[in-house]
Amino acid sequence: MSAREQNIAAASQALAETSRVKPAEIVFWLAALASFFLLPEQHLLLSEVLITGLFALSLDLVLGYGGIVSLGHAAFFGFGCYAAGLATKHGVTDPLLGLALVAVLTGALGFATSFLVLRGSDLTRIMVTLSVGVLMGELANRMAWLTGGADGLQGVAPGLLLGRFEFDIFGQVAYAYTLCVAFVLFVLARRFVHSPFGWSVRAVKENALRTSAIGIPVNRRLVVVYTLAAAYAGIAGGLLTQTTQFASLDLFSFHRSADLLLILIIGGTGYLYGGLIGALVFKLIQDAIANVTPQYWEFWIGLLLVSFVLIGRERIVGLPGLVWRRLRGRA
């Protein structure tokens, strides 16, 4: 083999390496599958965690890949929740059809608002995303004739899944459904981020000036990724409504967006699993704190956020490993 052929082989392998499916990923999804069979009494809880994880994944696309700091991602989630609920109540009872509809509608909302996010600095982006969140919540509140207002959207009764499976009260079908949808969306997102398009979105985050200098239209890339992320968030919201058969104004609240950021910071950004892992860890922390001190949950969230920034994510996440190594070193 000539030197050049060797170089080409090496380069080809190196480019393939980043997107190669790693053993840990297979373990992760096998564990998710196993949870369905091994934890039948936790199905409702697991569905909720997975939906939150999918929601966080959608924020990761915007933040971890696109570099857009968004404080109003809950707008898309909430919109998806209500869209799915309303679609179901108004005749679109097939869950999958409903989700597809939700994806299109939320994507359209994301597309429309993306043009505001393109403009200006981080500050204006934060302001705009926050405003869109407040605005959507306020709209849902005002349009009580449609949304049920402060009482929430009740009596959402999705039809049979695939025309065969009825959503049961133990959440068995719900969890299987959520798991399948999440897996499919994850695989698509994974393909997306490893595609040339996905790399060009990362490039925008790394250096927008250089990205435009190699001829990639920066704004169009951001519009696409923002729209895609909105659709993902909407689907996550739609899943929540379909599986819980309820939607409330709380979905739009600022706390949702803030919790989501925390989840993503716990799990880490820019590798897609961060949202899913973060959602699980977040739920565990939530339960642990709720057992010790049920009130003032908010305070602990705040403390976590502050600590994560001041101490640094690497040091906090690396702590268990460090302790383990110390212990082993001593033994």
Binding site: L123, S131, V306
Partner: protein
């Protein structure tokens, strides 16, 4: 009509006093501090405790609210904020949201979550007619106080020695350091004064805006709009933006009760499409 305008101006003035500190810290330190409203809340609660529980006269409580918020600001700046200046905007956002949450639950824990009001002196609660326009004495008081403050700030930034150091530090911290300006000191003083002003605004606004532990989140968008629309180049931009916001919000809610809450967002979007860097903005970094 004029009464609405008047109320809107009073509201805008309040927003300006509360948000101007945020504008300076953004311009000066490139810091996105979403916890700014927490300092306003602190000022409000200090006033409520002083006036309602300890019987301190309202006018004596106002400067104390300023001092208390400024001291809290100074303490946090020296201990915590100083570590996040050089971090990314995302980290600053997370950090300051964390502070907001802690402040909110701290207040709920110590003072409860119900809305509280300040006992105003009797002569401030009356209304009177000026040329047929119904004017609330308290709103007039707010306009006067905030107007004086705005003028004093403008003077301080434009004319004083500290002001020129501040402007130099905003323009280019590196060069300013080279000129022997103690930029860290300028940062600390500015942050403390900004927090103090927020606290004073919170004290003045407690009656008008309503004070409860969710205050920092409820008004976060308003502060951001003032800063983003006004730009962080000087005092004029945020002042105009705050007045615009105040008038639009009050009259919007009066004339279009159904959709009044949306007016400010529509306004903001229009401004942003028209001038992405804000009305008076130089490019924000």
């Amino acid at each position: 009509m004029l009464t609405n305008l008047f109320d809107g101006v009073a509201y805008g003035m309040l927003l300006f006093v509360m948000a101007c500190g945020l504008s300076v810290t953004l311009g000066l330190m490139n810091l996105i501090n979403l916890a700014h409203g927490a300092f306003a809340m602190a000022g409000g609660y200090v006033t409520v405790i002083l006036v309602n529980r300890l019987g301190v006269p309202f006018f004596a409580a106002l400067p104390l609210a300023f001092v208390a918020s400024a001291l809290i600001g100074l303490a946090l700046e020296r201990t915590l904020y100083v570590h996040v200046y050089r971090k990314s905007h995302l980290e600053q956002v997370l950090f300051s949201i964390g502070l907001v949450f802690m402040a909110m639950s701290g207040v709920t824990y110590t003072l409860g979550s119900q809305q509280v009001f300040v006992h105003l002196p009797a002569f401030l609660s009356q209304r009177f007619d000026v040329f047929g326009v119904s004017v609330g004495a308290y709103r007039l008081f707010i306009i006067v106080v905030c107007g004086v403050l705005a003028a004093a700030l403008q003077f301080a930034v434009a004319r004083t020695r500290f002001g020129s150091r501040l402007r130099a530090a905003v323009d280019d911290p590196v060069v300013a350091r080279g000129l022997g300006i103690n930029v860290n000191l300028v940062f600390a003083v500015t942050f403390a004064v900004g927090s103090g002003l927020a606290g004073l605004g919170g004290a003045l606004g407690a009656e008008l805006l309503g004070l409860d532990p969710s205050f920092p989140v409820k008004f976060m968008v308003y502060f951001l709009i003032v800063v983003a629309v006004g730009g962080s180049a000087g005092m004029t931009g945020p002042l105009v933006a705050a007045l615009l916001l105040g008038v639009a919000d009050v009259s919007g809610k009066y004339y279009l009760p159904q959709f009044g809450a949306f007016i400010i967002y529509v306004l903001m979007i229009v401004v942003l499409l028209w001038r992405p860097q804000g009305l008076f903005g130089r490019a924000a970094r």
